[in-house]
Symmetry: C2
Subunit: 272 residues, 2 copies
């Protein structure tokens, strides 16, 4: 998917919502079997209930890998259930030496045909660039994450700049705003503003709104750019909105609430 | 596998060789079909030809994921072919927020029952610790990698210490030498000495000997400790030693050459 196509989806749906399919087999709602078939049925119901409100879906590979071969199959089947007018993200946090990253890129961006994959930056340029070799596919590089452990290394200062700043500056030379996004945590809105100054044009995938904390208003105030430039993820807040048989309906309500807030932000900025 | 068991294997086999099963379906030798069955048959032959010479096997998940569901199955089957007297490594470079790392840990260390998994440090403590929750299982954390991209961030200095040094100091408080190893590249032997000063007791998984360059003698001179403390990996140099039908025989010869060099190092240090 090209940037223009993604921007168009955001305009059409008046939403920059990403729904995170971190589907935990143990947390499937009432009425669904705790099996791989249950996982697929759950994802199908969630996608059907939310796809007109979501610009993107993020599939967290860990939740499928922990189900083994059948889990991997469930991931592939889930991906196929996502309509064409949604951007797809393999939230896989991969990254290795060049010949290995090349294989991961082939797995996710070519064979499975995801639009994008999250990648960890620690191993540097040759671990990231193989993911940029496919047309209209995206790397979403970890820059500033929203978890407690982000404080361990991402803020270490070198030449008066924190590590995440170096990651942004250096990696923005490896790709372009047409094939490279960043994971930027929302736990503190002003940090998104700091990141926005360094990479004004790139899209950000923002976790940490909803259950992980972080306010949508702050994210937009600090992160919005001319092309919106934001995909804001919510996983648990949507997919586990209800533990009952009304889970899909409640997921839609939760997604709609976020979409409405997003629409307000977009209208305020005359983004249509 | 406990540290004592691993050390015992190294003493018994007089080898700290790790054979890397980075099996590329496109590079299968003459006589094997370029299919998933071919990959399994190849791995089986390599394991049978080398297991008495190898202390460990490292399965590079990327090479299996790029074959889809059937590839994941081939990975699981390959793991089951590895004899009990070999340490097993999922070279998966995973790492995510706590609830997600927990799922990866379950996938690799519990369900598949690998002895260890490689983990990327960028997201900090809560992304690493869930992998330490299983008894006698190991995290192998990226510290100093052997690829060109290692220069991008790993050497950035903060408080007069490079990033990899901070990773070592901080992470060594999260685990112990009984459940935490480090990936330490061998492209420059003296760097292994620098790392050894910071973490004197931990095992290192050393890539980069063989095709990636790096001398075994340097690795041992700089990295050896009282428990050996080293697993030295060779992938392509062993598994692709021949493209012909004699591939297993040639793989054994290549492994034996490395094992003999290792044995000499161990005898010199009276490690029996």
């Amino acid at each position: 998917m090209t940037r223009a196509e993604l921007v168009n989806i955001i305009k059409q749906k008046q939403s920059f919502l990403c729904v995170g399919l971190d589907t935990d087999i143990e947390k499937l709602p009432e009425g669904l079997p705790k099996t791989v078939e249950g996982v697929i049925a759950f994802n199908k119901a969630i996608i059907e209930a939310t796809h007109d409100l979501a610009a993107a879906y993020k599939i967290n590979t860990a939740f499928y890998e922990c189900l083994g071969v059948e889990g991997w199959k469930a991931m592939e089947e889930t991906l196929k259930l996502i309509p064409a007018d949604c951007f797809t993200i393999a939230d896989a946090k991969r990254g290795d030496i060049g010949n290995t990253s090349k294989m991961y890129a082939r797995a996710f961006l070519k064979n499975m045909d995801y639009h994008s994959i999250t990648v960890a930056p620690y191993m540097g340029e040759d671990s990231v660039k193989p993911f940029m070799e496919y047309d209209d596919k995206w790397v979403i590089l970890l820059a500033l994450t929203s978890n407690a452990g982000s404080l361990d290394f991402q803020f270490l200062e070198s030449d008066s700049k924190p590590l995440f700043n170096h990651v942004l500056e250096k990696s923005s030379q490896w790709g372009t705003p047409e094939n490279l996004m960043y994971v930027v945590g929302a736990t503190r809105g002003e940090m998104i503003g700091e990141v926005r100054k360094i990479v004004p044009d790139h899209f950000f995938l923002v976790p940490g709104v909803g259950k992980q904390g972080g306010s949508l208003e702050d994210v937009v105030n600090y992160g919005f750019n001319d092309d919106c430039g934001l995909l804001v993820n919510s996983s648990r807040g949507i997919i586990y909105a209800s533990k009952g048989t009304d889970f899909a309906e409640k997921a839609r309500e939760a997604a709609q609430e976020l979409q409405k807030d997003m629409q307000k932000c977009l209208i305020d900025r005359n983004f249509r």
